[in-house]
Amino acid sequence: MHFEKVKAYWLLPLLALLCIGWAGSWEELKSTAGTVNSVRADFIQEKHLAILAKPLVSEGVFYYQAPRSLRWEYSRPVKSVLLMHEGRIKRYVKRTSGFEEENNAGLEAMQVVLDQITQWMMGRFDESPMFNARMDEAGRITMTPKDEAFKAIIQRIEINLAQQPGVIEDVIIYESEDAYTRMRFTNTTLNGKIDEAVFRKVP
């Protein structure tokens, strides 16, 4: 599996799962997800590794506007912004001279991600060609890669839905049992107005 595609797929759960709704069944999930047009949320990303006594923490903010606009911004430890808008995908990283665009082939693979997100935004997790999805009674969705090569990268993804419809509490991406990334979302706003410039301009 190509590295850049792997990188792009890694973003899938981070990007799409924020937008799903609370649900007790796939049908209910699809119904709730269909009402979400925009999302804004703060996130805290904890990287847990076997060698770490305490996790590495990153923080940032996430914006989504249906159908295909996205801003995934880290404020620490490295300031960076991933923008997707009108089919264009750009990544900027803050350097001493300011935000600088990073051009690498991996961004092309993000197109694949966008297509997936479109499906996931409609709550069609159980129809994903990449993951087997299972929902349990506690409002947790577990997604397991279908592809064996992909499974070597991501073992499984757990999504814990919040009580509030349309909001999730956290997403845990397991690379192995002792290496995982936990994304906690706070201050989530659904269907608020987001200026288009958010998806085009940096910072």
């Binding site: 990188k7 590794l49 590495l56 990153s58 990073e102 690498n104 991406i173 290496a179």
Partner: protein
């Protein structure tokens, strides 16, 4: 052999034939020197450290990519545990080094032959004092102190320190050609526990690359912080 071919061959071989290590001028201890010329290896972190860097990699063709590099290094044991991950937290490469390399995880292209060895070699160059005792010390025009160390597999390593405590490491192969340059860029005040806040590593040659390491966090590893 016709004349043009001989010229081409001569031109190709000339740099190899002529390459020699830069001269070091033997000098008595400068009264202005803060430390004697024999302490070049004090530029390296001593003890056990966990270092988190933002690494800006510039590859042939000019493409840039920023990743996070987590290194646990022990100067006494000369061991390294290294994790490289995307800003989103995906682990691209994880390996242990304790004289031999054990790869825990490597996703493409980090799984290509030689990549792990190259990463560990670069980390050893940046964080560890040379293994063998120095064979020459002195000064050079741009440097207040210079130490030269032989390398176990042949070649040499120079450590140059200027009056502001900036340092440069030059690694030479057996043919005395520079294959790596490592340079501290930060001021002493910006360094954390003597560990520079910015380091640049340049790999020379056709497949050369450049790494800018910006220190995010330096944490001493103690029994409490060990897992």
């Amino acid at each position: 052999m016709n004349h043009p071919v001989r010229i081409v061959l001569l031109l190709l071989l000339l740099p190899v034939a002529c390459a020699q290590l830069p001269k070091i001028v033997p000098a008595p201890l400068s009264p202005k020197a803060i430390r004697p010329a024999c302490d070049c290896d004090l530029i390296f972190p001593r003890g056990d450290w966990q270092l988190l860097h933002a690494i800006e990699a510039t590859v042939p063709g000019g493409g840039k990519q920023t990743i996070l590099g987590l290194s646990q290094v022990s100067s006494a044991d000369r061991t390294i545990h290294c994790v490289m991950m995307t800003l989103e937290g995906m682990v691209l490469f994880e390996a242990d080094y304790n004289g031999a390399i054990k790869i825990e995880r490597a996703v493409p292209p980090f799984d290509k032959p030689g990549i792990a060895e190259g990463i560990i070699e670069d980390l050893r160059l940046i964080f560890f004092a040379p293994e063998l005792p120095k064979r020459q010390t002195g000064t050079r025009t741009r440097s207040e102190r210079v130490c030269r160390y032989p390398l176990p597999g042949g070649g040499a390593q120079d450590i140059e320190i200027d009056s502001d405590d900036h340092w440069i490491i030059q690694k030479y192969n057996r043919r005395n050609r520079v294959i790596r340059t490592v340079q501290s860029e930060s001021e002493r005040a910006e360094s954390a526990h003597g560990i520079p806040s910015r380091i640049t590593l340049e790999a020379h040659g056709l497949t050369g690359y450049r790494l800018h390491l910006s220190l995010i966090e330096a944490t001493p590893i103690t029994n409490q912080t060990k897992r």
